[in-house]
Amino acid sequence: MQAPLRPLLEARDLACQRGERLLFRRLSFRLEAGTACHVTGANGAGKTTLLRALAGLTTPFAGEVLREGTLGLLDDRTGLDPELPLERALAFWFALDAAANTATLMERLRLSALAEVPVRYLSTGQKKRVALARLLSQEAAIWLLDEPLSGLDIASQGLVSALVTEHCSAGGIALIASHQPLDVPDMTSFAIEDYQLALPEGDGIEGWGEQSA
């Protein structure tokens, strides 16, 4: 399933900003094949910013990111055309990623019944499952998951944990930013707050963060 290369995700002294504000600094970690890591942090602490910097979508303020292996990103956007029926919208990504066993995948994520429904009619949780289907079909070595559990029902939350566990036991890497706990064995974790600048007391981090989130 995975690329022949052993995947690796490493951050060295990473610092990221949003607007004029430095969100965190001196963040370093190294994830090797088969490991999962849980990132926690309050709203606006910089979890999404971190994931986007790791994905190479934005340039970090300082530090560097090392990636080896294909990259999959799951966030609150499905990347699907809202007017198209789900099956046709997903077919674009399935074709792009040359995905196999898409029928099994759709069945597992309980999407088969929704095949004819236009994407814009799907609920938040359903959209999340659709995004998961796109991620799975990509068969990327490194998963960056931004709030994969938000909006999902209990059964689907369990499924996400199971999918991450499977992905890691197959030699993949997963970095998960989430407020909810995940049931993944041997998962490490860190809080993004540990890398924040020491701010004077009463500084309105949260207010700013909420606004910009």
């Binding site: 607007g19 986007r52 994905a55 190479g56 979508l57 934005t58 340039t59 990259l71 999959g72 990103l73 966030d75 956007r77 499905t78 990347g79 699907l80 055309d81 809202p82 007017e83 674009f92 990504w93 074709a95 792009l96 990623d97 796109r134 990509q138 990327a140």
Partner: protein, 216 residues
């Protein structure tokens, strides 16, 4: 990957299959239909001014699809997902430019046939008009794409894109419509040259713009 992307982009923007993309053509024909009513049915006046009206209609029709051209796919995370698969923003924008032009350029050229009939444009003027539009619409598409990408992350993007297009499209309009007034095919060479320059520039400018939009 590029072929799949082009197919998807065309499905999104092509008139009658895409979402409301027939609007530019309808707008274009509507201007040609209304103009004789506004200035009166004098065949000489129509023949003299009609070519310029067609050019203005084409220019304004090119603005109409801009709002959806780039901003929506940024919101959808579409470009981000393509980026993760190793496609550069320049390639995405080059494909988008082709799809954008195909979805309004050839249709406008075809729509010029009924429009010319309505405006009493014939003979050499008609020939120069059609050739001018063929040479000029790629340039209009390129300007449109650059503007759409630049204004994608702005709140008042749609209003601003109309405003920005006017000065940028002026050279094409001056040489394109000027060719009709002077009956001078040579200025169509300028239209083609400007178009080519813009088409070559657009993927880079638009690609840089959507990369910059991510950093916000």
């Amino acid at each position: 990957m590029i072929v799949a992307l082009l197919r998807r982009d065309l499905a999104q923007f092509f008139p009658f299959t895409g979402s409301g993309a027939a609007l530019p053509v309808v707008f274009f024909i509507a201007v040609a239909m209304l103009y004789p009513f506004a200035v009166g049915p004098d065949a000489n006046v129509l023949a003299k001014t009609g070519g310029g009206v067609v050019w203005i209609a084409a220019l304004l029709a090119a603005i109409l699809p801009l709002e959806k051209l780039v901003a929506r796919d940024i919101e959808l995370g579409f470009f981000d997902q393509l980026r993760l698969r190793g496609l550069t923003e320049e390639v995405m924008m080059a494909v988008r430019l082709i799809a954008h032009w195909l979805s309004f350029g050839p249709v406008l050229v075809l729509a010029t046939f009924p429009a010319a009939a309505l405006l009493n444009i014939e003979g050499e003027t008609f020939r120069l008009l059609i050739l001018g539009l063929i040479a000029g619409t790629p340039g209009l598409a390129a300007i449109g794409l650059i503007i759409a990408a630049l204004t994608a992350s702005l709140r008042a993007g749609a209003a601003l894109s109309g405003l920005l297009l006017i000065p940028l499209a002026l050279p094409i309009l001056i040489f394109g419509a000027g060719a009709l007034a002077r009956q001078d095919p040579a200025s169509l060479g300028f239209v083609g040259a400007i178009s080519l320059g813009l088409v070559a520039l657009a993927p880079f400018a638009a690609g840089a713009a959507i990369r910059a939009a991510r950093e916000q």
